[in-house]
């Protein structure tokens, strides 16, 4: 990569970058190994024995949620498109109100390990679990792709590895490392990794924000003006305002963002790592404050990167838009700060990937293996064994997918994961918590229908084929005009859930009553800590 001298120079100290990153791996591995002593049964493996406090879990949730898309993706989008990038962070944040008000506490009171627990509570267990596990695996797969693709891009900048074989090797190392975390430490170890990472990420972003503001004499308005002059527009529309279709695409994206969070399986599973619904609420409150604070920081970082580095320079660098934050770090604090921030970004990817892996493997082992195949009575100790093997398999798939998706836009891939989550998961979760008449057919139609419509629309969208920026730029089989399918697939899933329910004669009101009482009062809820 020769076109930007500064960017080539910015990767000048790979040794330092590796040293800082190794230190992070060393510290987290220490906690993971310490946590491994108790990682023996399914409850420990999946939820750390539900023994975390609300504050710990809240910090871990923000660690899980603030992925590479939030840090590298949003800062980059703001640095290049200006205002349109800001809209991502607002959607990602407002989404938490749905989780706080409608989902977190009720879910904690009615489930134990996975999202499927809540659905299986009142509907025909095996088909419903199979459906929920399928959508969990689908969402996790898209999310994993985004993170692994981000890892490849970051490596280009961080270690100056520009050939694709070298990047593939690094993606494989990242994948192997996170599988090791999950195997050794289970949910407890993974949670410690999230907590450490969240602290590092927020501290690093705060440091850079103060630094940027200091450079501009604490004149925020002046910083915005400088950023705007360098290419980051202050007016909406630079990215999405081009035509009627892109405007509609923007609305579609914003629906997926705001409804996706409360359907993300790896976020939902975190609500089970605390002992009570009150602690689940406390977790969400901590997460909302931390995530909100972080997104305010990215606003400064994005415009700061535009003002100090320049939108064009960022776009032309090896990592493209995703390298805005690292390049800004280099501009501010030279190779040392670049090393620190890049290591933080790397840690972010690693931690999120570990969180996704444990969720997907738990769903496979608990929902499909233990409850669908063995009808709730798996051989002694087999479920944990299956969960471990599933983690290895998911790691392998993530590595392969990450190598294939290397170079794709991270924020865009994550937005697709949100669309899948909002289409396949959220309608069934809301219906089963709030609608007595909801039944098995409604659930299956909503999950499979929402998932299928979403995936089909993505496949025939310009995101996959037909334009220069598509995954398959050389071919064109697209007929659906929007890049994000949420506008169609989410309402369709709600509609299918309703239609399936009213056309089925199955009535489950008695079970629904029990669920309603439990969800609001916490009566009969699992409290691992108290029981063992």
């Amino acid at each position: 990569m020769t076109f930007v001298p500064m960017a080539a120079e910015a990767t000048g100290s790979p040794a330092l970058n590796i040293a800082i990153f190794s230190a992070f791996v060393g510290v987290t591995l220490f906690f993971v190994i310490r946590a491994s002593r108790t990682n023996t049964n399914a409850a420990q493996m999946y939820t750390g024995g539900a023994a975390f406090s609300g504050r710990q879990n809240g910090i871990a949730i923000s660690g899980d949620y603030l992925s590479a898309a939030s840090f590298l993706g949003i800062a980059g989008a703001i640095a290049i498109y200006g205002y349109d990038g800001f809209l991502y962070s607002i959607g990602f944040l407002v989404a938490w109100l749905v989780a706080l008000l409608l989902v977190a506490e009720l879910l904690r009171n009615t489930g134990r390990f996975t999202m499927a627990d809540v659905l299986a509570f009142r509907m025909q267990e095996r088909p419903v679990r199979m459906a929920a596990a399928t959508s969990t695996l689908a969402v996790s797969f898209f999310y994993l792709l985004a993170q692994m693709a981000g890892a490849g891009g970051l490596v280009a900048l961080l270690l100056n590895i520009t050939n694709s074989t070298g990047q593939a090797v690094v993606i494989a190392i990242v994948g192997a490392l996170m599988v090791a975390y999950v195997l050794i430490g289970g949910m407890k170890g993974t949670t410690y990794v999230q907590i450490i990472k969240a602290a590092l990420l927020i501290a690093g972003a705060s440091l850079m924000t103060v630094w940027v503001l200091a450079r501009s004499g604490f004149d925020f308005s002046g910083l915005l003006a400088d950023g705007a002059a360098a290419g980051a527009s202050l007016e909406p529309g630079k990215q999405y305002g081009l035509t009627g279709t892109t405007k509609l695409d923007f609305v579609s994206l914003s629906i997926a963002l705001v409804l996706g969070t409360a359907g993300l399986p790896h976020i939902l599973m975190r609500f089970y790592t605390v002992p009570t619904s009150t602690e689940a609420r406390r977790s969400v409150v901590w997460a909302i404050w931390l995530i909100g604070l972080f997104y305010l920081l990215t606003l400064v970082l994005g415009y700061g990167a535009a003002a100090l580095v320049g939108s064009e320079t960022i776009l032309a660098s090896p990592g493209g838009a995703n390298s805005a934050a690292p390049l800004l770090a280099y501009e501010l604090g030279g190779t040392v700060l670049l090393g620190v921030i890049s290591a933080v970004a790397f840690a972010t990817i690693l931690a999120v990937v570990a969180g996704l892996t444990i969720t997907a493997s738990a769903s496979f082992a608990h929902d499909i293996y233990a409850n669908v195949i063995h009808r709730g009575n798996p051989p002694e100790g087999a479920e944990v064994k299956v969960a471990r093997r599933a983690a290895v398999a998911i790691g392998a798939v993530a590595i392969a997918g990450g190598i294939a998706a290397n170079g794709q836009n991270i924020a865009f891939l994550v937005a697709l994961a949100f669309a899948v989550a909002a289409s396949a998961n959220l309608p069934t979760i809301l219906y089963s918590l709030f609608w007595k008449r909801f039944n098995t057919r409604g659930c299956l139609w909503s999950i499979y229908g929402g998932l299928t419509i979403c995936l089909v629309l993505i496949f025939f969208s310009p995101a996959v084929s037909g334009t220069e920026t598509s995954m398959f730029a050389g071919a064109d089989w697209s007929w659906f005009p929007l890049r994000n399918p949420g506008l169609i697939s989410i309402p369709a899933s709600f509609l299918l859930g309703w239609l399936g329910t009213i056309t089925s004669k199955e009535h489950l009101e008695a079970k629904a009553s029990e669920m309603e009482v439990r969800s609001l009062t916490g009566l009969g809820a699992h409290r691992e800590v108290a029981e063992h």
Binding site: E125, A225, Y295, T521
Partner: protein, 130 residues
């Protein structure tokens, strides 16, 4: 309701959650609680809070989204310096999220939690004994 074990493929069969370990309240108890005045009151207060608040928050969010998409000129209008209407509107979304979070936590602590605890204590003490 029959017990889950004799209907393996129906709601709750085999799952660790509703598999009702001994000492958990039975289904009759839940029907009874559901009909009780205390529970009806708790449910209605919860729903009267969260439905309008969620609806209002989403309405405010989508107003913002639609303005940004279809009225960029208005959002780009300068209030002072480089501070635009759109920026203030965006920051107000943050304020809304923080405000609703704070309100809800207070509401839950003072209204929902005591009511839920009362129902729970009453039924865990009277016979069911978890």
């Amino acid at each position: 309701m029959s017990s889950p074990s004799d209907r393996p493929d129906t709601p709750g069969g085999g799952s660790p959650t509703p598999g009702a370990p001994s000492g958990q309240p039975s289904a009759d108890v839940y029907t009874e609680i559901l009909a009780s005045k205390e529970f009806q009151e708790l449910r209605s207060r919860y729903r009267r809070f969260v439905f309008p608040v969620t609806g209002g928050a989403l309405a405010f969010y989508f107003t913002y989204v639609l303005l940004a998409a279809y009225s960029p000129g208005f959002m780009g209008e300068v209030i002072t310096g480089s501070i635009t209407v759109g920026l203030v509107f965006g920051l107000l979304q943050f304020v809304m999220v923080f405000a609703i979070t704070t309100f809800y936590v207070r509401f839950a602590r003072t209204v929902l939690d005591p009511a839920a605890a009362q129902i729970r204590d009453h039924h865990e003490r009277s016979g069911a004994g978890a």
